[in-house]
Symmetry: C2
Subunit: 96 residues, 2 copies
DNA sequence: CGACAGCATTGATACTTGTCCATATAGAAG
DNA sequence: CTTCTATATGGACAAGTATCAATGCTGTCG
């Protein structure tokens, strides 16, 4: 998802409840096949979901996109120790 | 930062208070020049900070790495409306 | 059925970049 | 100053991929 065009798509979806596929060409500045390609990537990665209504396909953020992002964020954030769990205190002094 | 080798570096730094540059070659599986290259990228992007002590350079997560991540996460997360600010309610119905 | 519009796919191309080897620089120690 | 170790840099190569033009597919509407 860390790619300019895909970020533009995700940010558009973050601002609006749902977006028609044909609208992404204008907000990304790339052609329709390229948009289709990125939508496929994001769809298969589980970031977005598409729903066909007639000729159009409306996309929205996947229900647990925020949770996925949180999981990734946690893996690269300093370990936080829950004060109610003193047994894990040693994790913080893991000095190799 | 979304790149396997760089993620491995960041995760190592998330688990340990500080890591010597020479230790990243083993935990990433790439050669020393490659590690040096990625450290430079992460340093210039503001994710990590390095401190030279003698011959070694010790790296740690930048103080506001977590905040940077939060900012990015927020930009691709569904807009949340603060219940105490009804004037912004219209943002949620921005249907193009 | 035929025409049209939205979306997907294919093939080709060019650009990006992660990786390595070789080498240069910086600091410490003898 | 010389030597050794740690890190940085330069160049080259290959893999990945973002992009587009052309085309195919799938719905909708006369």
């Amino acid at each position: 998802m860390a790619e300019p065009t895909r970020l533009a798509i995700l940010r558009q979806l973050a601002a609006l409840p749902e977006v028609c596929a044909c609208d992404f060409t204008s907000c990304t500045g790339v052609t329709q096949p390229t948009v289709s390609h990125h939508l496929k990537v994001l769809r298969e990665a589980g970031w977005i979901v598409g729903e066909r209504r007639g000729t159009w396909i409306f996309y929205r953020l996947a229900p647990d996109a925020a949770r996925m992002l949180g999981t990734i964020a946690a893996s690269v954030s300093p370990a936080q120790i829950t004060p109610t769990d003193p047994s894990r205190r040693r994790l913080n002094v893991l000095q190799a």
